[in-house]
């Protein structure tokens, strides 16, 4: 495995057409190709532009609250009796999740492109809230597409988006979840491509989105790497993050790709269990295909139709995954596992009671995996979990499971 890690020039990927090995690329209708070329040109230009990067950095510090802490979860570590557990506190970002790192970046690009209207898709609502937030701040019109089923289970976030001035459109087609919201946002974009900027929330979609979102989210890993070095004098032994589309995981992983000693583990939503088929774990149980503009691992049937997914967490309930994860899996640079709804719930409660931090259900999957592996590691080893969001949005879901009406 270390041979693979050292042989790859990570900075050279994706290639100029957005490929990570056989994955990624740009699979969209012709109408969008021009807009994607334009986006790629402006993204490549401004990521080299000191003025743009300074503005992004100022927003990160003043608006998002970066750097977020790396927190040593000492009590949980002691209880687990193995590796030291560190939490990268993306739950402390403004709006309550890592999503805002990306929406700030893309909104600054939208402003430079002169677009007056922003659209987004959202699952759990975190990306929608983060998009509505930056749109409000920049005075841009904002439309957020959200599956009708997700609107039911994430109602506090729907209200937050509306307070921020966004128009939240309920998507009734297909399975009425995140993938259908993405389809609908693409349809909007194809129709209004002249004045509209589409802020995709994860490291999927047509090139340049997977690379661009990764670059905005990589601030997580850059900070975590420096903080861990400063706190312990060494690099962590492993990084653990939940993976739906995979933006928080890539954000943490990417700055460590060139550190062969650092293991990377992505945790997918196992739902009711992989064997039941009711899950959202394409890397663990899917196969390569093409959806939403990129080639990647998908959950599909024998006819190539995308199948319904399931997860207790709306943010992981997606049948695809970012193409860079697909590639890291094939290379063996990262490994991907799954955690069931039930394990995630137990981890949610344990983190809440042990550390006084209420995590979102998405990173609760990563916590569950750490609860499993940390005891088998030595106390002089360490793990970093990306605590990608806070759990306020999930209180209704949790309370309902316990028979409590809020």
């Amino acid at each position: 495995m270390s041979e693979v890690k050292e042989a790859v020039d990570w900075a050279a990927f994706p290639d100029t057409r957005g490929h990570f090995g056989p994955y990624g690329g740009r699979f969209v209708a012709e109408t969008l190709m021009g807009a994607l070329d334009e986006l790629q040109a402006i993204y490549e230009k401004y990521m080299q532009d000191p003025e743009f990067l300074a503005e992004l950095d100022t927003d990160f510090r003043q608006f998002v609250g970066r750097p977020t802490p790396l927190y040593h979860a000492e009590r949980l570590s002691r209880e687990l009796g193995g590796a030291q557990v560190y939490l990268k506190r993306e739950d402390l970002d403004h709006t309550g999740a890592h999503k805002v790192n990306n929406t700030i970046g893309q909104a600054l690009l939208a402003k430079r492109l002169g677009k007056t209207r922003i659209i987004a898709e959202t699952g759990a609502g975190q990306h929608g809230v983060a998009t509505a937030t930056v749109a409000a701040r920049l005075g841009l019109e904002c439309v957020v597409y959200m599956g009708a089923e997700d609107i039911q289970r994430q109602s506090p976030n729907v209200y937050r988006m509306r307070l921020l001035g966004a128009d939240v459109v309920a998507v009734q087609s297909g399975s009425r979840t995140l993938k259908d919201a993405l389809n609908e946002a693409m349809r909007d974009w194809v129709t209004n491509v002249d004045n509209t900027f589409y802020i995709i929330g994860t490291v999927a979609g047509p090139h340049p989105y997977p690379a661009m979102v990764r670059d905005f989210q990589s601030v997580i890993g850059r900070e975590a790497r420096a903080q861990h070095l400063e706190m312990t004098g060494r690099l962590p032994d492993a990084l653990v993050a939940c993976v739906g589309g995979g933006s928080n995981a890539i954000g943490l992983f990417h700055p460590f790709l060139g550190d062969p000693s650092v293991e990377m583990i992505g945790v997918e939503a196992g739902g009711e269990g992989i064997a039941t088929g009711r899950h959202s774990a394409p890397l663990c149980a899917g196969q390569p295909g093409v959806l939403h503009g990129n080639r990647t691992y998908l959950m599909e049937d024998d006819d190539g139709q995308i199948v319904a997914t399931h997860s207790i967490s709306a943010g992981l309930d997606y049948p695809g995954v970012g193409p860079e994860h697909a590639w890291l899996k094939d290379l063996g640079r990262a490994t991907y596992v799954s955690v069931t709804d039930e394990q995630a719930l137990r981890a949610f409660h344990r983190m809440t009671r042990t550390e006084g931090i209420i995590p979102a259900l998405e990173p609760s999957h990563a916590i569950a995996h750490v609860i499993d592996i940390a005891p088998r590691m030595r106390p002089d080893q360490s793990l970093v979990i990306n605590l990608s969001g806070r759990g306020d949005k999930d209180l209704n879901t949790i309370a309902k499971l316990e028979g409590i009406e809020l």
Partner: protein, 276 residues
Amino acid sequence: MSRIARRFEETRASGRAALIPFVTAGDPAPDVTVPLMHDLVDAGADLLELGVPFSDPMADGPVIQLACERALAHGTGLRHVLEMVREFRQTDTDTPVVLMGYLNPVERMGPEVFVNAAAQAGVDGVLMVDLPPEECEDLAGLLERAGIDPIFLVAPTTSAVRLQHVAAAARGFIYYVSLKGVTGSQSLDPAILGARLEAIRAISDLPLGVGFGIRDAATAAAVAQVADAVVVGSAIVRLAEQHPEAHGQFRAAAAAVVREMRTAMDAARTATPAAV
């Protein structure tokens, strides 16, 4: 010469624009599709576009989305669509059939397996909506070797540079998307359209088909004056939505729309060409 090229030679020679109806295979039920295809030919269709149902038709409007859902509810997949073409070919060896859909079902079947099966079934052209020329080298090569035309879209947003790429990769005909939007959107403007088509003709000799937004006979007639082919989809598929159970009524209504468009298109071409 391919069936598509031959058919365009015929329509050009007779001074007509070709009429290409689109229907989603398996909508509203699998056993409707082949008889419907024959009906559409009898009503004046020159080529047929057969939609391959997909669960996530990103470039389609609500009419075709719902058609996909109805077809998938009956389990109509790519294998069945190829079977329908084979059955159609048993009694019609002249009318070109173009499959239109999304890449993933083809990827799942395997490009080689798909291309061989499509050639054997009698498919003449393949248009994958989410497969631009940049990503299609492998599939386009396989299709060409099997004598099937890879067909590509050109959009109002396609730059001059991209147009060169698309024209170089395209065979059969070029499908011009008449407006920014999904299938079944608002009506197009024939005046702007004429200028766009001239720009494409400057670099490609292929026939130009125009689709998206042609919802009535008057629009079809106007487009027929500037294009080599008129593609009509949502206006027909919408009828399946209106007659989900009454299959006979749906077939009759679909044929009537095609007949009406055929008449209007031919009348417009024989009249003194209007400035459109």
